[in-house]
Symmetry: C2
Subunit: 189 residues, 2 copies
Amino acid sequence: MALRHAVLAALLDEELSGYQLTKAFDLGVANFWHAQPQQLYAELTRLEQDGLVTGREVVQDNRPNKRLFRVTDAGLAELEHFTALAAKPSFIRDDLLVKVQAADHVDTETLIARLTERSAFAQAKIDLFGRLLHTMRGDRTEEEFLRHGERIGPYLTCLRGLAFEHGNRDWCERAAAVLRERQGAHVRN
Amino acid sequence: MALRHAVLAALLDEELSGYQLTKAFDLGVANFWHAQPQQLYAELTRLEQDGLVTGREVVQDNRPNKRLFRVTDAGLAELEHFTALAAKPSFIRDDLLVKVQAADHVDTETLIARLTERSAFAQAKIDLFGRLLHTMRGDRTEEEFLRHGERIGPYLTCLRGLAFEHGNRDWCERAAAVLRERQGAHVRN
DNA sequence: TGTTACATGTAAATCGTTACATGATTGA
DNA sequence: TCAATCATGTAACGATTTACATGTAACA
């Protein structure tokens, strides 16, 4: 049950509503956890029942009212406890890799199309993460920020997300290139 | 429902029993999908019911009898169809990243311990994947193998797994180094 | 004699995705 | 007026994990 800890970790920096959390989980938080809005609303309810977060109603004029949540001391203690446990290894589960595993048995054109799509997706995330990192460190260099910054957790996780997407993009390009070359060679023979 | 396609892809090269599949999903196949033995046995049963694989009983003297499965033509067509669909983006869901996200709020020593554990785990997989790749390409160079090898799908997915674990190891080392340096600076102040 | 590997499952619980549902406001 | 954004859910289904269950044979 790590979704609850992901939510707690995401709420450490600021009070957020369920809706804002879903936005966060679409952007930066997606570097370390991914979840649907429905999961987040449900988890917030449970976390509040368990006293790990507290919500306060914020009345708004123009927009629907919302509830902002922040982590309680009990929530912080729960995170501390969670950190002390051995982390489970993180496994890859990727549709695209399944398709590439079958590369020699399925249509090459189709596979190259999938790789190209994924590569573009990865590039978009690379750009996004680059901007996020820049926002976090301001005009400091990365070294300087990591040495003396006040809040480096989100920066470090974003670095992992960036490296992951670099890995995705580079691998997609390489695999597509290999398939294209083999296709060419086959046609010429 | 991509587990079924992962199983089909894993069975492309050789007839395997459920037990052998669980071993494969512990090793190479874990580069593109991860699953528990219970899932695999259940999925094999469903796949056979749906006619996508066929099993044959192999009577053994010393060991319990086993059933070896291979992909049928219908199974191959299903894989082809699956490949034509847009691949879902693959998201990270990682305990360890949740812990690092909370870095500035939890105990640093503990976090460094988790990062060190993960780094060692990643290194072990790097070694394993290096050996697997070498086995697949034999005495050919990688370039040569990828150009003319007869079965490159598993090689390409293993390359992705290798890059992923390199990313894991390098990031863990970096994050641990950053935390250690900040800890040292704090103690001296 | 005890542990590991071989071999295959069932059942319960938890987690995650997809579909459905509602309603206001802002901006094009 | 139509789409997008804000705001929050319920219900059904599918996927995954964990616990329980069984038995033989090889090896140290």
